[in-house]
Amino acid sequence: MRPVAPVKTLRIDGRDLSGRQEETILDVARQNGIFIPRLCEMDGLTDVGACRLCLVEIKGQNKLLPACVTSVEEGMEVTTDSERLQGYRKMILELLLTERNHVCSVCVSNGHCELQMLAQRLGITHVHFPYRFPKEEVDASHDRFVIDHNRCILCTRCVRVCDEIEGAHTWDIMGRGIDAKVITDLNEPWGTSETCTSCGKCVHVCPTGALFEKGRSVAEMLKRRQFLPYLTMMREENE
């Protein structure tokens, strides 16, 4: 018997679409040009469903579900862009903008920042929650890279790429709740890290200007992410 790849048909925003059983709603939406915002998800890394921006409505489900980790199912009816979802997404982005110090005009990623682009796309013209203005550190001890915690949104892409793709696990999270932050090794200066291979993958998956290469001025930090899907695809083929 020939192996059968189970294919499911579903409806996203009124369009009839199909996806393989192991694909997520986000995968299928992306293949078909349907935009679902997300900040923690990245093709090639495991999904954590943490940013909550890709939450979608599914008919018959009273809970909103994250598109990045929800597998497609036969007959599913998905709404990705209702007024309610737009409202929640705006509020989540606003909360992110108040959490640390996101000052685009002086940021190396100005114009190339996923947070900034998403805020523009969702029409955020002002933030109605008060800003926290925390005093966050900048660690420039590494020869080539800098981490500016003021711009970190705790998406954990750096943690995952370092662990899953590079295999170094230099990055991790410490602290809880509003005090959580990404750290290198056991919260030591990045420059003294014994595990860091200086591969720079973390820098290029970072959605904001939190991780950048030295020597870049405002708006000069372009991130190249093509390596990641390519690398995972080649590795899967070799297996």
Binding site: G49, L95, F129, I173, R176, G177, A180
Partner: protein
Amino acid sequence: MTPEELDQIAETEREAQSKFTQRVNVCVAAGCLSCQSQSVKDALDQEVTRRGTKDHCQVKGVGCMGLCSEGPLVSTNTGVLYKKVEATDGGAILDSLDGAPVSRLVCPTDVPFFQRQKKIVLENSGIIDPDRVEDYVAANGYTALIKALTEMTSREVTEQITRSGLRGRGGAGYPTGLKWSTVSKSVGTQKYVICNADEGDPGAFMDRSVLESDPHRVLEGMLIAAYAVGASEGYIYVRAEYPLAIKRLRTAIRQAEHIGLLGSNICGTRFSFRVDLRLGAGAFVCGEETALIASVEGKRGTPRPRPPYPAMEGLFGAPTLINNVETFANIAPIIRNGGEWYAGIGTEKSKGTKVFALAGRVENTGLVEVPMGISLREMVFDIGGGIPDGRKFKAVQTGGPSGGCLPSDCLDMPVDYESLARAGSIMGSGGMIVMDESSCMVDVAKYFMDFCMTESCGKCIPCRVGTYQMHRILTAIGNMTATPQDMKMLEELCDLLKHTSLCGLGQSAPNPVVSTLRSFAEEYRAHIEDHKCPAGVCGAQPAEERETA
């Protein structure tokens, strides 16, 4: 260990106990220990030795007797309960065994606090010595396990649990039988059973008392569960802040291994089961099942999105059954007496009994077990004995930081899963904090929000930043500096967190705010518009004034 050998242990123990014509039980659970019950027990021991009555007078350390506020508690075989006993009272109590009770120490037991309770989970609590497996066996311990292993198939065990109508006692009330059958039907050669003993709600101490008073009961429940779902390994995840519970659990596990009730080929069957302890390091969120699993795996204790549920993919990716301490403690009596018996107790949808930790502004605080469906009024005014100092009842908080505050017009509501949820609170794990008019509901909401903010793991944005912003607004209301816009923002955030947070912690974090807004909106208004705290708690009063208020 064969069933006959177990009978033999029980027989020997009963015989040994029958030699004692006089028995004095001293509570050695954490509550009474903290008021020096150990020195009371030592004094009694010494006095018995001195009198040379050791061969017919037994002094035994037992688990919680419930009325923790009156500890140390001592009970005797003459049926008398003594309260606030001191080491110097030892002689008087021993004298009373042959005559009249020591009237100055007597704690009346014909009051509603004791009479209205129905003990299933706590049936051995305060009666057996938690450090001796023989005592547990003599009290019909492990007979349910033997019955399940020798007379029932695993499907029949699950069937009895389903019939009993037992629902998860950790708070959400998921049907236990359904969970068991899901795990038993999940495909996997390795399955796990986990006991969630990471009790963290402020003011709740049900699980601690059960573990300290009757640890073998929990092990027996886990063993039966493992048999029913086909698991061979188990973990008890208990918070490190419970050193006594950990010590007694360790002793219980060692004893059960020693007599062959844990290990390979239990009772000569093919069933094998091992249990290990894992200690929580102080994170409230690790009570959430997926975070707990991550923590047992040695990872950072953060939740992950469900599905997949642990029943399909849990510990190390294997099908995993997670139940709360109290749920496991209910299993043995259900197997012993049958599911129908259990289903005969409680209400239509909430069966059996529930253990509550009654705390706050009531006369009697402590641990109580009541049938489901009892009214809140009975809980507060009969069992709790009412509000002290002639003050007025204001609200009762159930479910900890995930629950809500129920006002006086909810007093005649029955205590069951559905009614509490309808009223805007939850059953929760069993914390019940009674508040009188001296409590400010804004302050209460702020307290719980502070708890949620510091206990948020920080993984998802709504909970991480949302709880911070809500706490900021509640602090501003307390300082009389909030504006009507802040109130609007607070309501927006309640809705956001409820619907978009990753796990139960964030989703239920707004509950204390929502429930107080619903029933005590006037208090919020007074803070914002009149810049006054009706209860006199909040505001820029000097610290010492606030303390005396």
